[in-house]
Amino acid sequence: MYRTTLQGVLLASSILAGVGSAMAADVTLNIESWRNDDLQIWQEQIIPAFEAKHPGIKVTFSPSAPTEYNAALNAKLDAGSAGDLVACRPFDTSLQLFEKGKLEDLTGLEGMKNFSEVAKSAWTTDDGAKTFCVPMASVIHGFIYNKEAFEKVGAEVPKTVDQFFAVLDKLKEDGTYIPMAMGTKDMWEAATMGYQNIGPTYWKGEEGRKALIAGTEKLTDEPWVEPYRVLAKWKPYLGDGFEAQTYPDSQNLFTLGRAAIYPAGSWEIALFNTAGLKLGAFPPPVVKDGDTCYISDHNDIAMGLNAASAHKEEAKVFLEWVASPEFASIYANALPGFFSLNSTAVDMSDPLAKEFVSWRETCKPTIRSTYQILSRGTPNLENETWTESANVINGTDTPEAAAKKLQDGLDSWYKPAK
């Protein structure tokens, strides 16, 4: 009932929109996105820059709420009223749309050569043959720290795991600051900012992630259990009552200057910059000095072409531009913390964002281990990882027990191609 009504309304609105654009002389491209926070940036910086160079093509950015985006987009695509350009979520959500023929194959796009395989992996078919969205931005994990707190206790930025815990010990001894701002209540903090943040160092980034998908490594193997052991050691350094501390609580503790270290994703940069604190950042510490460091440089957003679009040629012009270094530079500077996936280096002005992106040169990037293929079945590996990461820090499960549960869950539906 509801769905057909919705489709009817959407259809009606698309007809009206069609009449509107038919009367205008220029071609208007509509962009669907979940980033309603970015509306201003698109209207004031990105779209004018494009329109100045491409007369005859007008662009409108029409975002919807992040939590509704997937459902709304599916309904609009089915009803044929979706915009010409569509912001792509990483992995299966978009892959499904492509397989249903809702998104155009963009493998042949000239600008695609500006992106590395890892950058494209989130919007490529399993066999790697076809790419259907132009990668726009990724988020990087690391640790953001309060410089004043470090000065007060005389701590240096840690490079190895031992140094990391030595700094935490110093902060705990001093007592002015909560050593680390993280809670386990919302669970994804423990998984995303904890396990996926420090983990790649142990499972050697892409190497381990691919081995897991191929079935040659298991979650119960040492490289996958060890990060849990390290995570379990974080417990004494978290704030009082961290078991009931939510994600906004952690953000507030840190921006109020009450905590010293924040296990972070780069998307926090814009918010943390408003707090007026002196902040620095460091990548996940390595086991031994001199080891290769690995970072989680997770593909977050891309742009695809609606297969039912009436203006495919113009839309492709826009996508070529999205793939260009010019777009990368505007986007990355307007949104510090969302890093361009373009292979051309981008100059950024935000010091914290610069620090994050500089790790790409020294460390090997990977994406979150649970996102590609492994979260297709039931039980869902990503959701289980949330629960188990929180359990490990809370002490409900031992690292070994947690790893076993995850592997058992994965084994119950995932049969890697041998």
Binding site: M1, F91, D92, Q96, G183, T184, K185, D186, M187, W188, G239, D240, G241, F242, E243, A244, Q245, T246, D249, N252, L253, T370, Y371, S375, R376, T378, P379, N380, E382, N383, W386, T387, A390, N391, N394, T396, D397, G409, S412
Partner: protein, 316 residues
């Protein structure tokens, strides 16, 4: 009753016009209720017998139910949710209803001052949205900004405080008690109304026989409000086994920590709509919804046929 001659009866029915207005007046309610409740219910029951096989929607009989109870992971999730739901229900029965009855008994005492104020105050949380209640209590119990640790500190009992919502052992109890706090007004109001319905004569007769105070409550008033208590129990049962909102707002869709607050409602939500990377599974969702429907149906039947018939009613 006098017997009517057959022809007289026929005449009566011939004279009386068909009462179309009854149908007309019933129609809106029946149509709307059928469209938004009955059809979706049957559609859900039907969907639980279907699943996607090789990319095609196909009839699978009871295979979904076999998965739910046979697959160790589905079964463990299901029994965990069902067990938690029973704990949730038992806490309501053990805390909410006795306290509700006690409050009603106190409110109905003659000569109580500010009775109207208390009545409103106790009932007010029931009117609040789940989201507001969940959010307020999350803040009150927050170990960082919460009022609860501060209040306990004032009386020197800070050591008693724990991050209750974050511990697997206490989270479900904490959430249940928040729900009890919210809904205490409903049993209170129903019992209060029942108590007011007891005629003065009965109470006076009891007093003449020397039954006063506690004795009067337990021997006279309580038996007279038993039917109301029965109704409250079944309302609590249905409400608790359909509950979802409060756990979702307080603990999220994964109903953490470690599935400790996962009840059938949140289990259904996660399965049906999906969550984060987990894609929705309408077939298994419908299967769980069907089981929930059956549980509530059985519960209501037990009450209707087993209990309600045995409750004695007194006519005054």
């Amino acid at each position: 009753m006098t017997d009517l001659a057959p022809e007289q009866g026929e005449q009566a029915s011939r004279r009386r016009p068909r009462r179309w207005h009854i149908l007309v007046f019933l129609a809106p309610a029946v149509v709307i209720y059928t469209a938004v409740m009955i059809l979706p219910l049957f559609e859900t029951l039907r969907q639980s017998l279907f699943n996607v096989v090789d990319g095609e929607r196909a009839f699978v009989g009871f295979a979904n139910f076999a998965t739910l109870f046979g697959d160790p992971r589905w079964a463990s999730d299901f029994w965990n949710a069902l067990g938690n739901n029973f704990v949730f229900f038992l806490i309501h029965m053990a805390v909410q209803n006795p306290i509700g009855i006690a409050l009603a008994a106190l409110l109905s005492l003659p000569g109580l001052r500010f009775a109207a104020f208390y009545r409103t105050a106790f009932f007010l949380p029931t009117l609040l949205s789940f989201v507001i209640v969940g959010f307020i209590w999350k803040l009150i119990l927050s170990p960082i900004w919460g009022v609860a640790p501060w209040l306990l500190d004032l009386v020197g009992m800070k050591s008693l405080f724990a991050p209750w919502l974050g511990k697997p052992g206490s989270a479900l109890i904490a959430v249940s008690l928040v729900s009890v706090w919210q809904f205490i007004g409903i049993p209170m109001m129903l019992i209060y109304a029942a108590l007011l319905n007891i005629p003065e004569e009965v109470i006076e007769a009891a007093e003449i026989d020397g039954i006063t105070g506690w004795g009067q409550f337990f021997k006279i008033k309580l038996p007279l409000v038993l039917p109301a208590i029965g109704i409250i129990s079944i309302l609590t049962f249905v409400g608790n086994f359909n509950a979802f909102d409060l756990v979702y707002t307080m603990q999220g869709a994964l109903a953490g920590p470690d599935r400790a607050t996962d009840i059938l409602g949140t289990f259904l939500y996660r399965t049906f709509f999906g969550f984060q990377l987990q894609l929705g599974d309408p077939s298994m969702g419908a299967t769980i919804a069907t089981i929930m429907f059956l549980i509530i149906l059985i519960g209501v039947c037990i009450y209707l046929f087993g209990i309600q018939r045995r409750i004695r009613r007194y006519q005054f």
